[in-house]
Amino acid sequence: MRVIKITAENDKFAERVEDLSGQPISLCFQCGECSSSCPVASEMDLLPSTLIRLIQLGQKEELLGSKTIWLCSSCFMCFARCPRKIDIARVAEALRQLVLREKDVDRVHPDKIPREEREKLPQIAIVSALRKFST
């Protein structure tokens, strides 16, 4: 079992994510519906329900360093099914924004997309990837 000692710093981080996402993260009671609905859960290092729990506990480093926040595709399936009406797509976006705003590192850059791919990808793919993964 993992024991986490909560400090004021942890609480502050949890509050920041609630504010930026506008979501009532503290309401989550760990039913797991989000994790079972998520189409990319199998690729994630933290399941969506774990992500929410770690926010409640203010675990900033683990959250901002996770693969999960870059894998969420904002499909809103978890939100559609959440009995506590928490929109995890908004939560993941808030966490991504915290990283992008702090570190100012673009995860996708138009110049790094191979030319052949760039020519065949629909515009909406490129624009949405840039919107999600760059500042």
Partner: protein
Amino acid sequence: MMGGNGLEQLYFPGCTLKTTAENFEITAKETAKVLGVNLVEIEDWVCCGTVHSLTTDDLMHHLAPTRILIRAQEMGKKMGLGWEDGCSLFTLCSMCYNTLSQLNELVKESPDKLDIINDFMDEEADYEGKVKVLHLLELYKQIGVEKIKAKVIAPLNGLKVAPYYGCLLLRPKKVAIDNLEDPTIMEDLIKALGADPVDNPYKSKCCGTFHTVDKPYLVANLAYKILTYARRAGAETIVLSCPLCAFNLENRQEEIKELYPDFQRMPVFYFTQLMAIAFGLGDFCRFETNYVDPLPLLKSKNIIKVKG
């Protein structure tokens, strides 16, 4: 308003309908004409941004969709398109539909945010929040299956079609065009065209969307599941309404084939392409731009007779 080509309705094409999804736009306009609707493109439009911005402090990315709705609002007024209650703006691409609809919901819920956005934009009229954003499938539902059936001259008899809704027509719930767990709007259309809709468990599971840019094999795996379950359920083809879903489910079949050599390719249609075939307007479908050639399937069903 009745124009020379029937009832005029405003529509927003979005970027991709002018490039990789031209076959979607042209078949939408032509099938609408058959049903007595002239889709009028709004003037001076911009890209909607493709995704609704999800953080509470980011208003900047709501400017583009607001500008589009202002263009529609002003054109609706000029053309006298039922302005008292606000005019309708039809979309074809699911991403545009979702981005514009979610913006409308945001300004309804947070009038203070709308005030800030309006104040920020000097050159345009204020957005009044009354444009109704609708998807073309909703227009065809309003027109009704009986009227659509009456226009079918080449029924798609025996064609087994799995509808693929994806995410953005159905979620979040406040912008859903149909029941989000059990939609039927595409099934009804498929039946009206004479084809057989095939239910399948992945019809509203995400195709992987923008991950296609930097994680094509993640998308190929998701697309493989969607296509394989549709085939197992008896489908011969998939029909959809989003140019990004179309790319992921169709073009990424190349990557699927690398991962799963036994995979059998499956053609993918926009719903308007199927309508065009059934209405005898197959020439507008531009199948040569499809990555998976659908003609062998259509020929095997005697739906399209191709010269040569």
